[in-house]
Symmetry: C2
Subunit: 130 residues, 2 copies
Amino acid sequence: MRHHRHPRARSRRLVRPGHWHVHARVERFVEPSLLLLLRERPLHGYELLDRLPELGVEGRIDIGNLYRLLRGLEDEGLVRSEWGGDLPGPAKRTYELTAEGRRVLDSWVEGLRRAQGTIEGFLARYEEGR
Amino acid sequence: MRHHRHPRARSRRLVRPGHWHVHARVERFVEPSLLLLLRERPLHGYELLDRLPELGVEGRIDIGNLYRLLRGLEDEGLVRSEWGGDLPGPAKRTYELTAEGRRVLDSWVEGLRRAQGTIEGFLARYEEGR
DNA sequence: TTAGACATATGTGTTTTACCTATACTGACC
DNA sequence: GGTCAGTATAGGTAAAACACATATGTCTAA
């Protein structure tokens, strides 16, 4: 058998020898975050990047992937975009939420409520056996 | 530019036309689940598979990956294993938690508490703008 | 005139998860 | 005695998600 490299090399961060810091993030949390921000008002990519930390998405947003993600959401019809008018400064593509995007956001909220319940159950069982 | 296939083909499940069900799972949640179950008592892989649903890990456990994950945890010193005695039936490898594994479990709990806070913040902001 | 913030985008590698197959022991049923 | 289902461990491979790096252009201020 080929020796498998550690599959968890980066998901845990070494704080000091023998002490690990675990991330515990929600999969693809940026997607609902973008939908929620766009529900409030249309924004362009760079503004979204600025506002993501408000929702707790800290240090994990890759700007390149953010733009790719936005185009993906547009392909799926969850957002709609257009180039901003002939304003000064670099060209900006402004995104707004579609009705379909709003429905998917609602579905994310259901999913996040379930996730909360799961985590609560886990923590309760953890405390039980302390 | 090469056209990128939808990067979210399976992460959302179509329930009925225009209605999506979103998973919203915690990244690598099986790892802390295994550590928590093993803190309670030593178990072998197949038993862990049986008990994972108790912790809310439903329908996402791939048995092949489970064994790989267990070996990964052992490589990192979070669990220790040995082949069960000469009992009847298929050979079983029994896993138990190490002191290091216990520390990583504690770190996961911290991470999960933070994740709970993040989700709470998200949901609050969602309700605000309804 | 150059450095830095703003703005969008592509290329590519790594990590994590999903799907599929292989192997082997045991008990029940025909 | 054969086969089928359940228990048990394991490998191969592909897709999805994420991380890291780079490219390109506009504008402002030092």
